[in-house]
């Protein structure tokens, strides 16, 4: 009996430590974003929302926020469309070297972001393409396409083949089969890929830093703020970024995983 209480006590303590380890930095970040003072370090002087006000009146920061959203959404849409098309063709048609092609599509996942950014930088330079949000978006498509492809490909099963056949039998052409039957059937996994891709793009720094020039994304703007020293304002914007990610995850959890469970 005593032993059981002890064992369960230890497990609970272990759980508490794990979560503390994961979330303490975030909690501290959020806490000191409300710091009434100039330094986001202990001691906590009192509660104030002045740094959030400062964030919202900071034109550059707000512009960076808008850029981040634009890049995240556009690059994720492109990644999902390309990932879906690749997954569809590899799952439904006999293609030459399909195992190799699958491998090639997923390979960028194993390459570090730094290498990808440097490679793209060299390529864009050779093409005389100026750095902009577009080039950042291209970089994010490169890193998110393998993810989208893998998620969508994994959800394409043989049981959908007959459903697509039925659609074709009823007179649908290939495009209509994809648009009206396959894509809606796979919508849970397509949306999962989309939201994951958005969160990855949203707080990606290295590629965004190396492939942008005048218009920058939020992580790059935060980084340049940090260069001028610690400031509760960076905590405030960090908290907002965190909040946005949590919101996306919650949307994902309740709208998609909840729905698939029901089915």
């Amino acid at each position: 009996m005593l032993r059981r209480v002890f064992v369960s006590g230890v497990s609970w303590a272990y759980l508490a430590i794990v979560y503390a380890f994961i979330f303490l930095p975030v909690a501290v970040l959020v806490l000191f974003s409300f710091q009434d003072g100039r330094l986001p370090v202990p001691p906590f002087n009192g509660f104030s929302t002045q740094w959030y006000e400062a964030v919202f009146v900071d034109r550059k920061l707000m512009a960076a926020l808008g850029n981040s959203m634009l890049v995240a959404i556009c690059s994720s849409v492109v990644s999902c469309v390309l990932g879906f098309l690749a997954a569809y063709s590899l799952a439904r048609y006999k293609l030459p070297g399909s195992a190799l092609q699958r491998g090639l599509l997923i390979a960028p996942m194993t390459v570090s972001y730094l290498i990808i950014a440097l490679g793209l930088l060299a390529l864009l330079n050779a093409l005389h393409m100026p750095l902009s949000l577009l080039t950042v978006g291209i970089g994010h498509v490169v890193i998110n396409l393998p993810l989208c492809f893998a998620i969508i490909y994994a959800s394409m099963g043989d049981h959908q083949i007959n459903i697509e056949r039925a659609a074709r039998d009823l007179g649908a052409n290939d495009f209509k089969v994809m648009a009206l039957v396959t894509a809606p059937m796979l919508m849970p996994s397509i949306l999962a890929a989309f939201f994951l891709s958005v969160t990855f793009s949203w707080d990606e720094f290295i590629i965004a830093f190396l492939l942008s020039r005048f218009d920058v994304t939020l992580p790059v703007e935060i980084w340049s703020m940090l260069r001028s020293g610690l400031n509760p304002k960076t905590n405030a914007i960090g908290s907002l970024v965190f909040l946005a990610s949590v919101a996306l995850l919650l949307i994902l959890e309740f709208s998609l995983f909840g729905r698939t469970k029901k089915q």
């Binding site: 007959n162 459903i163 039925a166 009823l170």
Partner: protein
């Protein structure tokens, strides 16, 4: 709409495997045809060739009076009902049923109206707004049928549509399928491995085995006058007794077997006319054994047999009988409910000549 179907000398090979071997079949417009056979006999391959999902290696498929051999499924006047129903999981029932009409460019109001009509036909009009996952297996089945019928089709192809249903529901759906087929008049081609299902719904049954058609005809003919040993044994229980033709003329033949001699009408030689000296196999259904005393036609006594085991099946006693004359295989006989059957008892065996079918022996060529 409805159309006749003609399959001319169709073969299909997959690598070295021959799935269909020169199959020819003529189906009349508005017929309910069942392709019956064990798994791997080629029945589903034949259905896929009719539906356009496979192309034959050789031969021709004609539907109506148009050659359809290489026409895509979308352009054929056929619709397939799949074994797993293949409903669109993300669409409401009315949209599922209206999908084919949408592909044909009908406006929403018009196709919804038609779709509701077909849902009504299968008794699911009230559920039009539901999605497939809210339905039971039998209801999904009905939606699949409504969806297939909603498009202007001439031939409906059904790929073991009742396979996933429990027995009671399956019997009920068989009756419904048959009734709906009668109402719409479309040619139905239905694949199954269940011989009871085949007999329950078919106008004519096609018995298939190893890529060939073994037998083709109305259920009663397939059962009572099978044209091959396979067909006889696949359609219910049967006893095989080997024998030899002693003498034969145009109208009858004298046959000798280990159980005794019989004179059979020549018409009972369903596969080939009798010739003296032919090795044959007699097929006798278990219910055709009668007590020697009741005579409602020319009877042949086949000696006596000892009851080696029996079980009561409700409609009859199913008995294993060991003929006294030989120590060959035991026979299976269905004796009437009223019979008082005891193990070890000696019973007389008799059959009506008209009930015995003579087929070439298994080693002989068909």
């Amino acid at each position: 709409m409805t159309a006749p179907v003609s399959i001319e000398n169709v073969s299909k090979t997959f690598g070295h495997f021959t799935a269909l071997d020169r199959v020819s079949l003529d189906i009349r417009a508005g017929e309910f045809i069942v392709l019956l056979g064990p798994s791997g006999c080629g029945k589903t391959t034949l259905l896929s060739i009719l539906g356009g999902f496979l192309s034959p290696s050789s031969g021709r498929v004609v539907i109506g009076d148009r050659d359809m051999t290489f026409v895509t499924p979308a352009k054929r006047p056929t619709t397939t009902m799949f074994q797993d129903y293949a409903l669109f999981p993300h669409m409401r029932l009315v949209d599922n049923v209206g999908f084919g009409l949408r592909m044909r460019g009908l406006g929403k109001a018009e196709r919804d109206e038609k779709a509701l009509g077909f849902l009504d036909l299968v008794g699911l009009k009230a559920s039009a707004g539901k999605r497939p996952h809210e339905l039971s297996g039998g209801q999904r089945q009905r939606v699949a049928l409504a969806r297939a019928l909603a498009v202007d089709l001439e031939v409906l192809l059904l790929d073991e549509p009742l396979g996933a249903l429990d027995l009671k529901l399956r019997r009920q759906m068989q009756d419904e399928l048959k009734a709906i087929q009668k109402r719409v008049g479309t040619t139905f081609v239905h694949v199954t491995h269940d011989q009871e299902e085949a007999m329950a719904i078919a106008d004519r049954i096609v018995v298939m085995n190893q890529g060939r058609i073994e037998d083709f005809g109305p259920p009663s003919q397939i059962y009572m006058r099978p044209r091959s040993l396979f067909s006889a044994s696949f359609m219910g229980e049967v006893n095989f007794v080997s024998g030899r033709v002693r003498t034969a003329d145009a109208s009858s033949a004298e046959v000798e077997t280990s159980l005794g001699n019989l004179a059979l009408p020549a018409a009972n030689f369903t596969a080939r006319a009798p010739k003296a000296g032919d090795a044959i196999t007699l097929t006798i259904r278990p219910e055709h054994f009668r007590g020697a005393d009741k005579s409602d036609g020319p009877m042949f006594t086949l000696g006596e047999a000892r009851v080696a085991g029996s079980a009561f099946f409700g409609t009859h006693y199913r008995c294993h009988l060991q003929p006294c004359a030989t120590d060959g295989d035991a026979l299976v006989a269905h004796l009437p409910q009223s019979a008082d059957v005891r193990d070890g008892e000696i019973v007389p065996l008799a059959v009506r000549a008209a009930d015995v079918v003579a087929l070439p022996a298994a080693s002989g060529t068909l």
